[in-house]
């Protein structure tokens, strides 16, 4: 039983993809940089180029950190749902296999935050 209830109890999920006006949610976290208290949530069209996320969206989200300008994107390690993963910057989110509410993280070797404290 998926819920303890008196009667039949089934509802649409509040966050199904149809509710986001053509977008899907993507969560992005930057490892070792907890100056940003939590990973971010973004609504993106599935056809958006992955490289555009990195080049046009992430600077506004993470740019405050002094490490951000030092990132060598070619060396960045990516994880999807915690597993190593390699995105193709020139392909769309959908073609990279990213669906609604997927979570990705990136690690930037050599960059470990304020005073190396993962901040």
């Amino acid at each position: 039983m998926a819920v303890t209830a008196l009667k039949d109890y089934q509802f649409e999920p509040a966050d199904r993809v149809e509710n986001f006006h053509g977008n899907q949610l993507l969560y992005v976290g930057w490892e070792d940089h907890l100056l940003f208290c939590a990973p971010f949530a973004f609504p993106f069209p599935p056809a958006m180029r992955f490289g555009d996320v990195v080049e046009q969206v992430l600077p506004a989200a993470f740019g405050y950190h002094p490490d951000f300008a030092k990132i060598d994107w070619a060396a960045a390690q990516w994880f999807k749902s915690g597993q190593p993963w390699t995105p193709d910057f020139n392909k769309s989110l959908a073609d990279n296999g990213l669906g609604h509410k997927d979570v990705i993280r990136f690690r930037t070797p050599g960059l470990t935050g304020i005073k190396g404290a993962c901040s």
């Binding site: 509710n19 490892e31 669906g99 993962c118």
Partner: protein
């Protein structure tokens, strides 16, 4: 010879029994199942409601008498505090932000508790617990009213308190306490009793009220101290009711044990997640500290809760599994929570700041294993950047946990440098959690939690702008629109304490109060 034998007074037990069992009756033309439709579906088996032991035997006449006395004491103090400009005697204006958090986050829960206990008091088939729930329901609305009344005095002078009820249903961080209580009140009557009556009132309430109330006393806030004590004086009755319910269920049928244990596990965790707000209040928001969150947890949970669970062991109840992780988290909780509000200080209805040097030293001393290593560097960086005019305001919305609804700010229990990510698939969608425990709660009742009203997702769905807003219009500013929907005034209610209207007014008024200029 005539002897005037005085009529023997009824004992407490007899009086109470007349009021409860004596006033109860067996339905004759309706079935009991129809009269109490929620009594069985949760799977709890009760064979004999007469076995219920009333913990406190307060009859209605005594109840009204003592409650009236509490009210008289309370209002005498509230009036004196207001007449004497008591708000200017608090340690410093930063303190008032704890009051804002309390009014918007906690007082509406008192009202929900009133509703919850009224509902459960109607639905439980036993007369003893019904009467106890009725009294608790009246207590809870008294708490809501006295809190709102006491704190309304601050609303005359300070920002962020003007629309607490509206905010409670909408603002991102207030969805945490709101959804906690909504979860409890939408459960069956027995789960509600374990959630609120036992886990919250018995196990965790001391962590909310005792530090908050002593904190108010330490920081010169006589009005909050007084309503706190006045409310707390009812809690002893509530706590014993919560404990009695647990014992009663466990004594009635051995099949109840696994259900009760699962509820205790769930609600110990849900409650502790909500108390994250109290942790940061104690460690960061009280200008004069009483004790650290970690110390409060050790005294009120580890010592006290330890005794409780040792006692319940004879029924087969064990300490909730999550306690091991909470024990690890106590080193980190308040720092991670405050960092989050500092990040999103532009979207909060209270002010945030970086602790000054003395306060950071206090934190180092209280948290020798975690503060300097993990948290001081980021706070110092923020402080230095703010001094250069580059105060950090995070403008990108965070990922939230599907169950507790808190941004995913918690780290792995054994690694404070790594955010704890957990996920699961249910039907067509993925769901994300801050911890194994929130994930387990979801997996037990996914149909309930797939409906969570997650503020970040609701904003992205376009449901959190004032009516008539066109998000496609040129120059649309989503943050401004969301704050308008929250009824928050940009530049007055939010942003850093440094430079705020509250700070300037408090200094000016205190100057007037203590000099002849």
């Amino acid at each position: 010879m005539d002897m005037n034998v005085p009529k023997k007074k009824l004992s407490l037990k007899e009086k109470y029994s007349h009021m409860t069992r004596g006033l109860d009756w067996e339905p004759s033309y309706q079935s009991k199942d129809d009269v109490y439709p929620y009594a069985k579906y949760e799977g709890i088996k009760i064979h004999d409601w007469d076995k219920w032991e009333d913990p406190f035997r307060l009859t209605m006449d005594a109840y009204w008498k003592y409650q009236a006395e509490k009210e008289r004491k309370l209002y005498a103090i509230i009036d004196a505090y207001a007449q004497n400009n008591g708000h200017l005697s608090v340690t410093d204006a930063r303190y008032i932000n704890t009051v804002k958090l309390f009014l918007t986050g906690v007082s509406p829960l008192e009202y929900m508790a009133h509703r919850g206990f009224a509902h459960v008091g109607r639905q439980l088939p036993g007369a003893g617990p019904r009467v106890a729930c009725l009294m608790q329901s009246i207590d809870e609305i008294r708490h809501a009213q006295t809190q709102v009344h006491s704190l309304s005095n601050y609303n005359k002078y300070y920002n962020g308190l003007h629309d607490f009820r509206h905010m409670h249903d909408r603002v991102w961080y207030l969805s945490v306490p709101k959804s906690f209580f909504d979860d409890a009140i939408t459960a069956g009557p027995f789960e509600f009793m374990v959630a609120i009556g036992f886990s919250f009132e018995y196990v965790l309430t001391n962590l909310l009220f005792v530090p908050f109330v002593s904190g108010a006393a330490y920081n010169g806030d006589m009005s909050a101290m007084t309503f706190g004590f006045s409310a707390q004086s009812d809690e002893a009755r509530h706590m014993t009711l919560g404990l009695e319910v647990i014992k009663f269920m466990l004594e009635q049928d051995p099949d109840n044990l696994p259900i009760v244990q699962r509820w205790i596990d769930k609600w110990a965790w849900r409650g502790t997640r909500v108390l994250t707000l109290v942790a940061m209040m104690m460690d960061y928001m009280l200008p004069k500290r009483i004790m650290s969150w970690k110390e409060a947890w050790e005294v009120y949970f580890e010592e006290n809760g330890g005794a409780l669970f040792k006692d319940l062991a004879r029924y087969g109840i064990t300490m909730p599994k999550c306690i091991e992780d909470i024990t690890k988290e106590k080193e980190h909780l308040s720092h991670q929570a405050w960092a989050t509000f500092y990040n999103y200080g532009a979207a909060a209805a209270f002010h945030t700041w970086t602790p000054d040097e003395d306060e950071m030293n206090w934190l180092s001393e209280k948290y020798p294993d975690s503060f300097d290593k993990y948290y001081r560097p980021r706070l110092e960086y923020w402080r230095d950047e703010a001094a250069k005019g580059n105060r950090f305001y995070n403008k990108t919305l965070p990922m939230l946990c599907q169950v507790c609804q808190i941004p995913m700010l918690f780290t792995e229990p054994d690694d404070p440098t790594k955010i704890c990510y957990r996920e699961t698939q249910y039907k067509d969608d993925k769901y994300h959690f801050c911890s194994d425990h929130c994930k387990a709660i979801f997996e037990h009742e996914p149909e309930k939690y797939i409906q969570s009203w997650l503020p970040v997702h609701q904003i992205y769905q376009g449901n959190c702008f004032p009516e008539g807003t066109d998000p496609t219009a040129e120059g649309f500013d989503p943050l401004a629109a969301v704050l308008a929907y929250y009824h928050m005034n940009f530049g007055r209610d939010n942003l850093d304490f440094e430079g705020s209207e509250d700070q300037k007014n408090f200094d000016a008024w205190r100057g007037v109060a203590t000099s002849n200029d």
